[in-house]
Amino acid sequence: MNPTPCDYIAENMGELFDCSPLGGYTRIRTPYLYPDGDVIDLFLSQIDGGSSTLTDLGETLGWLRTQTVSERKTDRQRHLIEDVCLTHGVELYRGMLMLRVKNLDDMAEAISRLSQAALRVSDLWFTFRNQAAASINDEVEEFLADREIGFERGERLVGRSGRTWRVDFHTRTTEKSALINVLSTGSRPSARRLAEHTLATWHDLSNLRLGPESLRFVSLFDDELNIWAPEDFMLVEDVSEIAYWSRKDEFVELLTS
């Protein structure tokens, strides 16, 4: 009688790995943990013509999704995931980390590779916005740098009233310079206050829109969450140009045309 994957794991990989049938798969419970302490499980599809698939069934990216309100990965996160997959020889297919196992003797190496990939992908949690290391302004900064648009971040400018205002970005291209305020928040009440603050900023700095070297004012809305009301856009549309973080090409066009 041929050994099953569970037989192989019991004989060759010690007691750290727990193996059991689950649905149409063999579930391999690893000793590795996601950053919150949840255990990483891998799944082996039935051997079919000498080859089977070892996968996380999308659990790693699923774990990441449940840590944040974001429904989309950033370009940087996608790039990091691709880099992890390349390093460990793992394929990302429909949100699942997976690799082919040709025979049982390859099992230990395959489990090790896929576990490592799951660990490293789950560490993308540290790049999320609600972590101290990252914010949407970091994403915007990275995006501007990638597009080779010169910028200064957090510049302080004095308005007509004498008050000093801090704008998120001051960009400069061959065609035009722009001031950008990023509007990003998680609640509707603070969304309105943010729009009002931006209106006040642009109004008080309106002298900078005059003259041959006038600056373009851009209100960049983080529309990842559907929390903005039409009135929020109306507040700033007369004093600035509106851009949306979900439409990055249009944002670039605004800065470079």
Binding site: G37, G58, E59, G62, T66, E71, G95, F128, N130
Partner: protein, 173 residues
Amino acid sequence: MKYKLLLSRADYTCRISLLFNGSMNQGEYEALMSDTTKRIDRHINWTEDEDHSPAVSFLVEVLSDPAYPLYAKGYLNRAAHKLTYVLIHRAEGRIYSLDLGKDHRNPDGALIGEKHKHRWSEQTGVKEAYVPEDITAAMHHPADVWEQFCAEANLIHDGNMNSPPSEQLDMML
């Protein structure tokens, strides 16, 4: 009277910092969790994610009188036999969650089991979990689990949870 006024100010300061600063303390967390005005006023629909993975999920805003920036998220992976419900604070990230079908190891090394709940704490974030005795429904009945999850989280759902779409995993592997 003076004592009452001080308490009121402390409560106000606590709520303001939770709404805007994003660095929560234990008292603020407990106040948020015990707030009974937390509510969801819409039906919940499970949808595919951006990768079209085997899992389905939902994201809904949680309304409350103090206007906490709070969201509820569900994640169901029937192929992997896992179900997760989460409360996410916009600034803090995940602060409360229930997992069915996945094991968990606490920082002290203890394995908690396939049914566990995470509660945020100042010391360990959501790394510590415990077995919730109040959750008795099975992973295959996500609406029943949701009802029990809402009850302990003091969350009112004024709507229905629709059934998840059918599973289409066979063609994926």
